[in-house]
C-alpha cells in the first residue's frame, strides 16, 4: 500500500507561474521529508528536505510547507521555468527507508 499519497498526477503551468504539489502521509514515525526531481532517463535528484519540527523551508525558488497536525506537506515552485519541466516525487523517511509518492509530472509552458 502506498504510504505517501501525492497529487496532482500532472500539472501544466505558464513560465513565471507557481507550481504546487501536495502530499499526505499516515505513518507518524516518518522523521524526514525530502523532495526529488527526476528527468527522463535519469535518477532522482534530491531537491530540498524538511524535518517535521519545521513548518516551512525555502531554498531558492523551491519552498516546502509542512503541516504536522494534518500530516500533509507541499512543494511550491516559484517563478517556474521551462527547465523545471520534470517529474517531482515527495517522500517520507524512517528506519533507512524512503517511501515515495507516485510522482507529479510538471510541464512549464514558455
Amino acid at each position: 500500500q502506498q504510504q505517501v499519497k501525492q497529487s496532482p498526477q500532472s500539472l501544466i503551468v505558464q513560465k513565471g507561474g507557481i507550481s504546487i504539489i501536495n502530499c499526505a502521509y499516515e505513518n507518524t514515525a516518518f522523521d524526514y521529508f525530502p523532495w526529488y526531481q527526476q528527468f527522463p532517463g535519469k535518477g532522482p535528484a534530491l531537491l530540498i528536505a524538511i524535518r517535521p519540527d519545521v513548518s516551512e523551508k525555502k531554498e531558492g525558488r523551491f519552498t516546502i510547507s509542512f503541516n504536522k497536525s494534518a500530516k500533509q506537506f507541499s512543494l511550491h515552485i516559484m517563478d517556474s521555468q521551462p527547465g523545471d519541466s520534470a517529474t517531482y516525487f515527495c517522500a517520507a523517511f524512517n528506519d533507512y527507508k524512503l517511501s515515495f509518492g507516485a510522482g507529479t509530472t510538471v510541464t512549464v509552458r514558455a
Binding site: K42, K97, L98, G103
Partner: protein, 113 residues
C-alpha cells in the same frame, strides 16, 4: 567518478536467466540503497547497506533477489530465474552518512522477455 555509477545501463534477458547489476557509489559513502522503479511509478525500497552490513532487506520481492556489498564499496544486485514482472529500472543511491539517499545513479533498465 563524481557520482553514483551503475552498469549496465540497459539489460535485456530472457525469462529464467540470472542477471547481475552493479553499483559504484561515491567514494567514502557509508550508506548504499537499492530501489526498484516501475514505469510511471515512484521508486520502491529494496535493500539498505551500511558499509558492508546489509541492515535491511525487507523490500526484496522474493528469495530470487540477492544483494551484496562485500568490501563496503561496490554493490551487486543479483536476480535469479528472472520473471517478466522483474522488468523495471533498478536504482542505486548512496549517502555520506546514515541518512536519506542523497545521490542516485541513473539506474539500470532491465527488460525481461
Amino acid at each position: 567518478g563524481a557520482g553514483v555509477s551503475q552498469s549496465p545501463r540497459y539489460k535485456v534477458a530472457k525469462r529464467g536467466q540470472d542477471v547481475a547489476l552493479r553499483c559504484d557509489p561515491i567514494s567514502g559513502h557509508v550508506s548504499l540503497f537499492w530501489y526498484q522503479q516501475a514505469l510511471g511509478q515512484g521508486p520502491e525500497f529494496l535493500t539498505y547497506f551500511q558499509n558492508e552490513a546489509q541492515l535491511d532487506k525487507s523490500g526484496l520481492p522474493s528469495d530470487r533477489f540477492f544483494a551484496e556489498r562485500p568490501e563496503g564499496s561496490v554493490s551487486t544486485l543479483k536476480i535469479q530465474r528472472t520473471q517478466q514482472e522483474d522488468s523495471a529500472v533498478y536504482l542505486c543511491a548512496s549517502s555520506l552518512r546514515t541518512d536519506i539517499p542523497q545521490h542516485f545513479g541513473d539506474g539500470t533498465r532491465l527488460s525481461i522477455l
